[in-house]
Symmetry: C2
Subunit: 284 residues, 2 copies
């Protein structure tokens, strides 16, 4: 596990107290991306809903949202808007309201957003699944809402799926016909990739990255990335983190940590008079 961290205190800072937002839009994979113990959530969600259990946490794993928040410390707030089981149809109804609160009406604006949907849409039946053409139409609507606000967007496509694991853990899904297949994930991913190209926004091709990971692994499998057939292990989140960082560096270098100004200076240079001068205008 190799990460090149960013030094905490370069000399670029400004006297400002708004914190731009890095907005994570998605489903359960996003909702759970702050979890330092994916195995506990695996046990918590769907397998014992009453909370009356105890887990010995010996499974500490890479914490995606923690790492991202740490990277952007004093520079941006990472805001998690992941909703488990939600798809592009649900998000089409939510996106304007979410952006109105987090951007339009907010003093601190959204500067970057990830849009990570498709994993549920690619399922065969409702309420998870959304037909392919409707999925693309919804995604176009959502992408436009984001780009209309000049928010730097990274679109992330669905990755690998393990039907054997998921279906054995979720017999209810099988009964209702909510099946999932890699062929569908790939189809939805490719459609999304074309849509991202149309809007000239970067696309994180997670499906291709999972393929590549499998090809290069000893077991010729991506299973170490996927916990329960759908959700990610710490290693799955680490791969996503690396791909996201690369996408930002290539497409939006102004949104990478070294190019963003730190909020307020290093403690040696603090000047209270300059804090007093920070103007916070009233909102309309």
């Amino acid at each position: 596990m190799l990460i090149v961290p960013t030094a905490r205190y370069p000399e670029n800072y400004e006297y400002a107290l708004d914190f731009p937002k890095f907005l994570l839009i998605g489903d359960s994979i996003t909702e759970r991306c702050a979890n330092p113990f994916p195995i506990s959530d695996f046990l918590a969600d769907g397998y014992d809903k009453n909370g009356n259990y105890t887990v010995e946490h010996n499974s500490l794993e890479f914490c995606f949202m923690g790492q991202l928040q740490h990277d952007y410390a004093r520079r941006m707030d990472i805001i998690n808007r992941g909703f488990s089981g939600y798809n592009s149809h649900y998000w089409r109804h939510m996106i304007e309201k979410v952006l109105r609160i987090e951007h339009d009406l907010s003093y601190s604006k959204c500067k970057v957003a990830t849009l990570f949907l498709g994993t549920n849409d690619a399922a065969f039946a409702k309420p998870d699944g959304v037909p392919y053409d409707e999925f693309l139409d919804n995604m176009e609507f959502i992408i436009k809402q984001i780009l209309d606000r000049d928010i730097k967007l990274v679109v992330i496509g669905p990755g690998h799926h393990y039907p054997d694991i998921w279906e054995s853990l979720n017999p209810g899904d099988v009964e209702k016909g909510i099946l999932r297949r890699n062929e569908e994930n790939l189809k939805y991913s490719n459609g999304l990739k074309q849509l991202a190209e149309k809007f000239q926004v970067p696309f994180v091709d997670l499906y291709a990255a999972h393929e590549e990971y499998a090809k290069n692994s000893v077991l010729k499998s991506s299973q170490n990335l996927i916990l329960d057939g759908i959700h990610f292990t710490g290693e799955g989140y680490l791969l996503l983190y690396q791909l996201l960082k690369s996408a930002l560096a290539e497409n939006y270098p102004e949104m990478t940590v070294p190019n963003l100004k730190m909020r307020l200076p290093d403690w040696n240079n603090f000047d209270s008079a300059k804090v007093e001068e920070i103007e916070i205008p009233a909102l309309n």
Copy 2:
């Protein structure tokens, strides 16, 4: 490492898209609390400021802010306002502006705040140190600003310090007379505890908890909690996390996860008409 997680999807939810804020106010211990790899930050801060180094991260540790964000997923946003090296004097100049942005002017209000200062104030010289009486006066000012807004406050006092480790790593501090001693930390902690009692807000007595940890440890030391003399290891953050959760459960049960309503329902119950009905008033 034993944590009792909270089940993800109890049946309490509401159709709302504001996310109340859980605000973390503090110094470097707060600023770094999202770090899944404390050792990398230890190397990054002060020991190689240019960022031109590579660390093999084999030191994955407990991620305080990640865990907290995961606990409150779909219920609150955890907002980090930790500023390395900052003390009560600096924060006295900042608090009103921070709360104005994050609470007064914000559609999503601050519901809970932690105030974790004193570790720098207790140092012997400026710019870190603040004299005892001035420290208490500053903290009173800051506490009032928070309580005036009906934000549920948890005050956290400074913990143990290891002068031998810190001073060998920071000879510059020694030259400038910025020394730190446990006796001072204890004095500042006790003063803060009395202040918290005066305002009837809960106090996390970290110093006492570090004493207790040392007493019960095989080595009769709290050193496993402290990375470099001041900053916390994952184990140090885990102890703080447990104390904070207890303080919330005892004093503000309405702010614990099971008593907060989830934003939007479980995917099976999503009703787009009810999302359309969510009213987002214009701000004044």
